[in-house]
């Protein structure tokens, strides 16, 4: 292309003028022809209504030939294995239903879900990112089918712990996670805990800390011994949010923390408890508990460094289990955040579910879609999930893995049965992920003091009140 671009061949004004004329012509014509075509006009259909339990046909074999289009993001290692196995099993049991799977990475699925759901030919079932800016917005726009009738017909309410189902409930306004009707089902659980390096812990003469005081002592001991207390990398600003969550667990009442995470009216960031949590993060920086230059290290590189034995603790999600157990074998342990008195009775943990599977409001096969959701979250499916090294949302009693995954599964059971599962802090508003990520990054860099940090989070919360 460079060869052609010799003097004299660069766009002549005649041609430029023609293009400009064409642009003007198109600009003039399009609005006229499209004046009825307000963006979103086609997707603004009637809101889907609940069906009564008896209207739901729960015998998939009697539905005739159906092709079910399913979009999922179960593309990594064990995820791919479980969904492939379950899809095959589903088709074996109900040969009349063919699952046409469209697999995308998380980012791809998230970026195309809006267009897919509002398009002419939406998928029947798709995994939607939880939180207000995605699942909440889809519910608000009436693009997802409420599943109250299906839940009653299949008995989903008793299959899952309430804390788990909560995370798929949205009111029609799409704003308050945990209230309103069920709009999806998760296959897996997620929780953010503390990984520790067994060898370093033993070398320092310590046991896994059960109280916050023991945790503080472990950090100090590691620092004195020249070991990195907490492995951490915040270039992508995603792990800073988890660190803040951990600090909040220590000072803020679980109910208040949940209110902050889900953007409840009246939830406040300006309290002595939240201030104490923010100060704790600054203290960790001041005492050198975090690695040097953490702001320039990607979270993926930081857990990889922890896997190589750099650091006593790493605050991270259960999604790291496959990678960390591959890198460290038996040398890695996992614990839930400590408590103030050392009891494990009511653990408070940040967590949630894997991306819920939801049914498009315009699916022509709602019964087959519901049957599919039922199948991939059934007790048999949970066994498959555990066997393929995922964290099942409702873990099976038998066949428990004995390694790191087993520890995480037990932790998940404790939290969902008797503890408090605090949703991710960024579920609160449309912009919470960016605001909290930015603010924590600046707080840790000492670019803003604690009061300003809390003000920024409060401002994001307040700006969102009333919704867009």
């Amino acid at each position: 292309m460079f060869r052609n671009a010799r003097p004299g061949r660069v766009a002549s004004w005649g041609r430029v003028r023609a293009v400009v004329l064409a642009v003007v012509a198109v600009l003039a014509v399009v609005p006229l022809s499209a004046s009825s075509c307000v963006p979103g006009a086609r997707s603004a259909a009637a809101r889907p209504v609940d069906r009564a339990p008896h209207e739901v046909r729960t015998d998939p074999a009697a539905l005739g030939d159906v092709t079910l289009v399913v979009w999922d993001q179960e593309v990594r290692g064990g995820q791919e294995k479980q969904i492939t196995a379950l899809n095959e099993a589903f088709h074996r049991r109900y040969p009349n239903i063919t699952v046409r799977r469209v697999a995308r990475s998380f980012a791809d699925l998230r970026d195309t879900a809006r267009l897919a759901l509002t398009g002419d030919d939406p998928p029947d079932v798709l995994q939607v990112n939880n939180g207000r800016q995605d699942m909440g917005a889809f519910v608000r726009a009436g693009l997802l089918r409420p599943l109250t009738g299906e839940a009653a017909a299949y008995g989903w309410e008793s299959r899952f712990p309430q804390q788990v189902l909560q995370l798929c409930r949205y009111p029609d306004a799409g704003d308050l996670l945990g209230e309103g009707r069920l709009h999806g089902l998760p296959q897996t659980g997620e929780l953010v805990g503390i990984y520790y390096n067994r060898a370093i812990l033993a070398e320092l003469g310590l046991t896994p800390p059960r109280t916050w005081a023991e945790f503080d002592a472990a950090l100090a001991t590691a620092k004195r011994a020249g070991r990195l207390p907490i492995q951490f990398g915040n270039l992508d600003k995603s792990t800073g949010i988890h660190l803040l969550g951990l600090a909040l667990h220590r000072f803020v009442r679980p109910e208040d923390e949940t209110a902050l995470a889900t953007g409840r009216p009246g939830a406040s960031w300006s309290t002595p408890a939240t201030e104490a949590a923010a100060r704790l993060l600054v203290e960790w920086v001041d005492r050198g508990y975090l690695p040097e230059g953490f702001a320039g290290v990607h979270s993926d590189d930081s857990w990889a460094a922890f896997g190589r034995g750099e650091g006593l603790f790493h605050v991270g999600g259960s999604w790291l289990v496959p990678d960390l157990s591959a890198a460290m074998g038996d040398n890695v342990g996992f614990m839930l955040p400590p408590s103030s008195d050392g009891t494990t009775g009511r653990p408070v943990v940040t967590g949630g579910t894997g991306l819920p599977f939801a049914v498009s409001a315009r699916s022509r096969h709602p019964d087959a879609a519901a049957a599919y959701l039922d199948f991939i979250t059934s007790p048999e499916a949970m066994t498959v999930l555990a066997r393929t090294r995922n964290l099942p949302a409702t873990p099976p009693k038998a066949d428990r893995p004995a390694d790191l995954l087993g520890t995480v599964i037990t932790g998940w059971e404790n939290v969902t049965s008797s503890g408090v599962l605090v949703p991710y802090l960024d579920y609160a508003t449309n912009t919470a992920y960016e605001t909290i990520g930015d603010s924590v990054e600046r707080l840790l860099a000492k670019a803003i003091p604690v009061p300003m940090f809390l003000e920024a989070l409060q401002a994001d919360r307040d700006a969102d009140r009333g919704g867009r």
């Binding site: 023609a18 979103g40 953490f294």
Partner: protein, 307 residues
């Protein structure tokens, strides 16, 4: 031009001078224009139309007229984003052209062995996907990465820093990668241009007693005007639409939002925060800006050619 051809043209169009475009020319443009209109102009117009609405991409849009554009101007964060692009312009465009001119002249003068190798090596970054470039440089800039290790090994410990994690250095660090990528393009373009300069011009300059600098100014620079124009256009567009480097190297716009750029903001608003109308307005503004700047560059190089 053949005499018969001239006569024919005169017979049909007695008014115009020979060589002036005739209307039939538009017919030749038509196929390309149709494709262009379908895949470029229509989406552009549709984007401009959407930019006049408050729309979340899901529910019915609400007509707001110029409000989205007014909000763009009022948004301090966005003004900063355009400021970052101005900095990137220096790194993506000005520096590569300056370095490219020096390198191309040097490579041409010294007649190095294995010129083809150097040319390929310099051009290689252009061929590699930007995402790969971003990941590679992320590792180089890491606190324990090769850049800091190199600095420490020569005793410059105090210079070592968390390049991408520091609000003061992140933008420059990203910009430098742009220089690394674009310099190869400039060098290859300029080498081709220098190669076409008749040998006599250099000889004449040398006979007149011109040194390296004078020869560069009198012979090389004027002959390379077109190439400089092309390099400036391509690198400027690359700078204005920077997205992948920022997305990979400094997710969420870097420490303290110090590296966020308009293209990243468009992506974020359209796909994540449900502000499709605002994203479209920003897209139209960025398109207009790019159009104006590249038109300006084309204009300048054209006028200078008509010397």
């Amino acid at each position: 031009m053949a005499a018969g051809e001239q006569r024919g043209a005169r017979r049909r169009r007695p008014a115009g001078p020979p060589g002036e475009p005739r209307r039939v020319g538009y017919l030749y443009l038509l196929p390309a224009l149709v494709v262009h209109a379908l895949f470029l102009l229509f989406p552009l117009a549709r984007g401009a139309w959407i930019s006049l609405f408050d729309w979340d991409g899901l529910t019915l849009g609400r007509w707001v007229g110029w409000e989205n554009y007014r909000a763009l101007v009022a948004d301090a964060g966005l003004r900063a984003a355009f400021g970052h692009v101005a900095v990137l312009l220096v790194f993506f465009s000005v520096l590569p052209i300056a370095v490219g001119l020096v390198l191309a002249t040097a490579l041409h003068r010294t007649r190095v062995r294995g010129l083809a190798f150097f040319r390929t090596a310099l051009f290689l970054p252009q061929v590699v996907a930007m995402v790969v470039v971003g990941v590679a440089w992320r590792n180089i800039y890491a606190p324990n990465g090769s850049l800091n290790r190199a600095l420490r090994s020569v005793g410059l410990d105090s210079w070592a820093t968390s390049w991408l994690g520091d609000a003061d250095t992140a933008l420059v660090a990203v910009g430098f990668v742009g220089t690394w990528v674009q310099t190869g393009l400039a060098v290859v373009l300029f080498l081709g241009g220098i190669g076409r300069i008749p040998h006599e011009s250099f000889e004449a300059a040398r006979l007149d007693g011109a040194g390296v600098v004078w020869e560069f100014r009198a012979v090389v620079l004027p002959a390379l005007r077109a190439e400089i124009g092309i390099a400036a256009t391509l690198t400027t567009i690359a700078a204005l639409r920077t997205f992948d480097l920022v997305y990979v190297m400094t997710p969420l716009g870097g420490p303290g939002r110090s590296t966020t750029v308009p293209a990243y903001e468009i992506y974020h608003r359209a796909f994540h925060s449900g502000q499709v109308g605002s994203a479209a307005a920003l897209g139209v503004a960025l398109t207009a800006l790019t159009f104006l700047i590249t038109m300006g560059i084309a204009r300048i190089t054209r006028e200078e050619r008509a010397r």
